[in-house]
């Protein structure tokens, strides 16, 4: 007979994650202290530790959540009625990334999660799963490209997925660190290289 509703608990959890996301996006996993999270969330130390067992726990939850969101955008896109060309798909994803890349946006957590995966065995697992899941979707997309006749019949769609998936981290890094390439520029580059469905073929 819990005193507080399940819903209340979930709300508290999310409140903490939101605060942590702001902190981590601003200052990074390591340079944000738990004190920062307490202050940002408006909760006490004890309260936060009731919902998460450790700082790593919060990071794991947040990293997973963030990578899941990007994946969902992509999943939705490739399941649309008309198959988007790579350029269209990438334009959509890049726009979404930009929208979530503000100074406190969740996309800033992605490179930190990649880095963490190299260094903390506990993190390796969930980052790995997230990347594999992402690659599965790209694989699925590559299969559809094959079906659409955009790839030779004997194409190794897994290899194609391995190649295409790089477009995203490439864009994320350029966007976050340099700040310049617009989604349109990236899409134009991709369209130039992979001009499927364009009026003029190569």
């Amino acid at each position: 007979m819990p005193r507080v509703s399940e819903e209340h608990l979930e709300r508290r959890r999310q409140q903490i994650l939101d605060a942590a996301r702001l902190c981590f996006a601003r200052k990074g996993f390591h340079d944000s202290s738990m004190q920062d999270v307490f202050a940002e969330s408006g909760l006490s130390a004890g309260a936060v530790y009731r919902y998460f067992k450790s700082k790593d726990d919060i990071i794991a939850a947040l990293a997973t959540q963030t990578m899941t969101e990007i994946r969902e955008v992509m999943a939705e896109a490739i399941h649309a009625e008309t198959l988007p060309t790579p350029a269209e798909l990438i334009a959509l994803l890049a726009q979404n990334i930009v929208a979530r890349s503000g100074p406190e946006g969740p996309v800033r957590l992605a490179p930190q999660a990649w880095s963490l995966a190299l260094v903390k065995p506990e993190a390796t697992g969930y980052v790995r799963e997230a990347i594999l899941a992402m690659r599965d979707i790209w694989h699925e997309y590559a299969d559809k490209m094959l079906t659409a006749g955009w790839l030779p019949e004997d194409a190794d769609t897994n290899a194609v997925a391995v190649a295409l998936i790089g477009l995203l981290p490439g864009f994320i890094l350029q966007h976050l660190i340099i700040g310049d390439p617009s989604p349109e520029t990236l899409a134009r580059g991709v369209r130039t290289l992979l001009p499927y469905g364009e009026p003029a073929t190569r």
Copy 2:
């Protein structure tokens, strides 16, 4: 042990960088303590601090050095007599990356540097420069692609560079975190997508 040669000094510097590289590749920038570096280098705290004024200084030197090395491999490749196809070029780079990706290899520093750039203003500068320099080389390559007739005459070679550059971080992350795609797989994927110079066109 005074009045040592310039060369000795440089050797000491490199000795410290080598030790730091091992530490950082193994445990990450943050989780490697300076004590780790002292122990790994066989030098005392004071000795290390004679050559580098802070831990951040070592990180900067190492990150810059590492990113420069990768860039040089690429620069050399695209200046070869015969212009490599994207697949050939990527195969070469990916092989190089794999060779430097052992448990203590310098490539493991790259994602850490990207992450650092988002979080430490002092790091932003040199990581940014490294990425821009890399993109310049890709831009140069894209220009050569144009000249080789692999791109339409009105192609935006800058946009092409923005797209192509992603192949590298994409591969690095997959290789370091998942461990699976071989350089050949990546090259095959690229060759499938960009079949320039292949006997049979699409």
Copy 3:
């Protein structure tokens, strides 16, 4: 041990200041380590740093407190119903100083604060204020001397304050470093020089 009273917090603060005063009086600001303060106070590092943000902060609090105390003694004395002669006043102050000059007494902090003010810009401010405040009181006293007819009508009471204020640091240094002059000796010297209110004038 949360949700403690305001009073508890203040007690802790004073507990730390008391411990620090002992340490600093014994070994000086610089030669007392924070570890010494932790040990003397019976608190952990973290606890101390909850109340003071740095060692300098503790020093500042202590120096100010100490200089304020001496000033209060003097303020009280010169506001007494009957104006004390310089000799009486100095006797009182010197007695007070001796009482606070034990091996762990706060007066030992004064010369250290003067020294600090020459060397640490952050300290200059509060030491300066303390000296100026002290001089204001001496100025006030000099004005009363004028009113009492102890000074010529056209006397520059500010200049008199500048001169008289030296009696204190002079006594403090002699007492702390040499150990010998008693308050009575000093008072006798002053009475000899400034025999106001004495039965026989010069």
Copy 4:
């Protein structure tokens, strides 16, 4: 059969003391590192340590030298043919102090030495001696005041010295920390209080 002349050694010693004086006046005993002294003197670590056995040794030499200088000025003054009044004497001394109080002047070492004497047993000795020697001179002056008829015949000239000596540290501190009182102001204050030899007596 020394290789270098005694004179050369003495010159080196003084070169080091001069450099150290600059450093210590600027940043204080503690905050000046030996490295600072090496740099300022243009000598190597080994060279400096050939002439002084330790940092404390340099401090001791410098503190003693400085306090001796001030004493000599005073000794000379009171041995002049005509006995100066206290106001005249103090004016002279204060002028001398001001002249040596520049940002790198030796007078800045005095308060540091006083402070040191409270804290380092090795320093207590020589600071104590310096103060006692100074007081001896004031005592001598007080005796002359007696002879000049400025003091009652039964005056305790030692007590008078104890009182008068404070004028100097008082002025030094006000001058160094606050910066304001001019030698003239101090002298005017003293003349007001001790108007010996003035046309109009009290």
